[in-house]
Symmetry: C2
Subunit: 444 residues, 2 copies
């Protein structure tokens, strides 16, 4: 942007994150007022620029009077720019301070309509109504930056392990497993389409073309649940591998999780500190994860007083109980076929078990990975479609994958928001995405 502050044009504009590289230099910072302390003839505006915070030191005798008075009168979140010399200062936030040589205010927030989010406690509804502003707060800011790191780590992992990104469609013609949790969209001329719940079926086609693939995008679930783990719109990564089985899913998912946690610890330590996250809980996330069967999990839970019976699905409480014996995620496999999707390959020895696997995060964060091995035999898949009363015609293309070069294949899905909630130690997934969509929340 053109220089509008009166500073010499040669002054470099930097971000606060870059301050260490410019110690001793005169630079310009563009930002917003985070906080202001006054002490006689000195004011200390803390500037926020989206990359960090820095305390500025404005001395009355060094500045034109109008500039000093303007800084002194700054209100929270007013936008302004300062030019001055960066100086190392151990006691200051971030380790550096800026001695103000000139400044200009872009827009001063007026006293009669001040910035609505103050240090006092606000209710969640109020904060969510002001989500477009709440994102400027330190904790929210930190959570979104952890989210960015998680997403980048996921993509880096697959991109560097020979997986091809193949985006699967959002508009899908047929319901994969019933339409009750699908959002319906009016397409053209009375046609109805549905918003995707999973790219898996398309991934299977893509794996036959590319070997190892992944898709990564928003998915949708019209569930009327109001839990702290559910959003109606959430992001999911789904890898799928040709010539792969259940063991490959466990191996890749474990490696991926360990990799992401390592990246967050490496690059987002400051943010975890802001979020007051107990970092030791993340540092213990190392391979190998405990591996137990569904059978063992049920016995374990019954021993702990759960009322679960063999054949039932784990509830939130069960998931939390299951992980409390370990300091890392737990891998559970071989679930009853009855409670799994139509496409799961049955166990060769005990066909009442599906070769499915879930990974449960510790500390009550629940299922973060679900996947397994898919049926590759045409006749068995046809039989399952019938048993599940699914419309054969809509699945003809999916059956084609078993007609033309079928191979054992397997994959999984991992939801981003739950993963980020776990990393950040957040109680509710609504803070892991900029604009969460829930049963009663579609704004702003």
């Amino acid at each position: 942007m053109n220089n509008e502050t009166g500073a010499a044009p040669s002054v470099p504009v930097i971000t606060i994150a870059e301050a260490a590289r410019h110690a001793g230099e005169t630079v310009r910072l563009n930002g917003w007022l985070y906080n202001l302390r006054k002490s006689g003839k000195i004011v200390f505006p803390i500037i926020r620029d989206g990359s960090g915070l820095m305390q500025c030191v404005a001395v009355k005798s060094n500045l034109p009077e109008d500039v000093f008075e303007a800084l002194k009168g700054l209100t929270q979140e007013s936008s302004f720019t300062v030019t001055g010399k960066i100086r190392a200062e151990q006691r200051a936030i971030g380790g550096y301070e800026l001695d103000v040589e000139s400044a200009a205010i872009f827009q001063r927030v007026p006293e009669d309509r001040p910035y609505p989010i103050t240090p006092k406690e606000h209710g969640v509804d109020f904060l969510m109504d002001h989500r477009h502003l709440w994102l400027r707060s330190r904790r929210q800011h930190a959570a979104i930056r952890v989210r960015h790191e998680v997403i980048k780590a996921i993509r880096d992992y697959f991109d560097s392990h020979g997986f091809t990104l193949v985006d699967t469609p959002i508009f899908t013609p047929a319901a994969c497993e019933g339409t009750t949790t699908l959002f319906e969209v009016d397409y053209f001329e009375d046609e109805k389409v549905y918003l995707t719940q999973s790219g898996q079926l398309y991934n299977e086609a893509n794996a036959m073309a590319f070997g190892n693939v992944y898709c990564f995008g928003p998915t949708f679930r019209a569930e009327k649940s109001k839990t702290r783990r559910h959003l109606t719109e959430f992001w999911m990564v789904e890898p799928e591998m040709a010539y792969a089985d259940l063991e490959d899913v466990k191996r890749v998912a474990e490696e991926l999780i360990v990799y992401i946690v390592g990246r967050v610890l490496e690059n987002r330590r400051e943010e975890l500190k802001t979020l007051e996250r107990d970092i030791s809980k993340l540092e213990s996330v190392k391979a190998p994860f405990p591996r137990i069967s569904y059978d063992e999990a049920v016995k374990n839970l019954q021993g702990k007083g759960s009322e679960i019976q063999w054949g039932g699905d784990f509830g939130n409480t069960d998931e939390t109980l299951l992980t409390e014996d370990w300091d890392r995620p737990v891998i559970i496999d071989r679930y009853p076929t009855e409670i799994k999707g139509f496409y799961f390959q049955p166990d060769a020895v005990r066909p009442e078990l599906a070769l499915g696997v879930d990974i449960i995060a510790p500390e009550g964060y629940g299922e973060i990975v679900g996947g397994g091995q898919r049926i590759h035999d045409l006749q068995l898949l046809e039989k399952r479609l019938e048993e599940h009363h699914l419309p054969r015609e809509a699945f003809e293309w999916y059956l084609d994958l078993r007609r033309f070069g079928s191979v054992p294949h397997a994959g999984f899905g991992m939801g981003v928001e739950r993963f980020v909630a776990w990393m950040c130690g957040l109680e509710h997934v609504r803070e892991t995405i900029a604009y969460p969509r829930m049963l009663y929340r579609t704004r702003p």
Copy 2:
């Protein structure tokens, strides 16, 4: 996956892309039959594994009779695995061959229902109906791999230039600019929401929190157009920068485009060759791009016989005419306010012009970037909402951004599919995404 081919367990499973590193070694390949040539007592199956193609050499006298006969009888796209020694062979596709020591067929495609896509010409409708299989074809495969590279390059660019990824919502409550091209979704209890057309308004809020941000996801447009440039569901990246103006948009967009083209040339040269792309056309895409004003563009077009009048929008033919004088994209700025969105900052000297900018790709690929500087003044924005008859209440949150620390800011959007079409030299955007969604196409 467990070893099921009779090869020694120590034989490494590799992909064809890794063959060069294993020359002289015995390895295993998993894949599908791409082509088969027979020559007396030798058969030459070409195996496809999603990472490349490799010719295998199976000599009758070196193999058990049933294995040799099974290979000899392979049909197109049958799935099989081969073990053997990798040998450099300049004349072979990819530069290597595999001397078969053992093999196993997973699923043989039967003669009475052969793989439907044959080397003969098929109509586009037939191919699109078989998109789940068509993706295995070399050209389609190449286009999707170029797409992956484009997407990765975009993310790498922003991630390494201090931009924070902030995903914007797919479900949006209000129509940004009229509802005629919006897809409507039934939310809960008679609520209606719309699928996003752009994350821009949210990006503006995010830029005030993070400085430089980007969003990258699917966007939706319910346009009843049947052109070769339109999809109803397409992916778009949208950066937004605080303390930035029109010139910053031009600079960043130009740098981004040059970076992506460089990455495609560096990493996807084989794919471009498969697509018979004239690579010299991409090699000339270097900074600086020509920069002209809307005024100059209109004069230029009138000189070439176009019937465009000042105040009109450029059609496809105009865009192609405009770029034919140069070998690289053309940057056009300062459009009439009348034909631009309500949110564009007006030119300081000529307020009838909006500080908007489009970048037009050469060779008739049309607009690939659209963006500009946004209004930062509260009163002016309020006036524009009125002039455009937009519901004030739905935009209160957006007005908040001008109340609480407003700053000059700017950004742009770049559609992935058009960019990929340009890179690949494809006539129609439908081949740039795995499962294109168009007016009459929602399957498979």
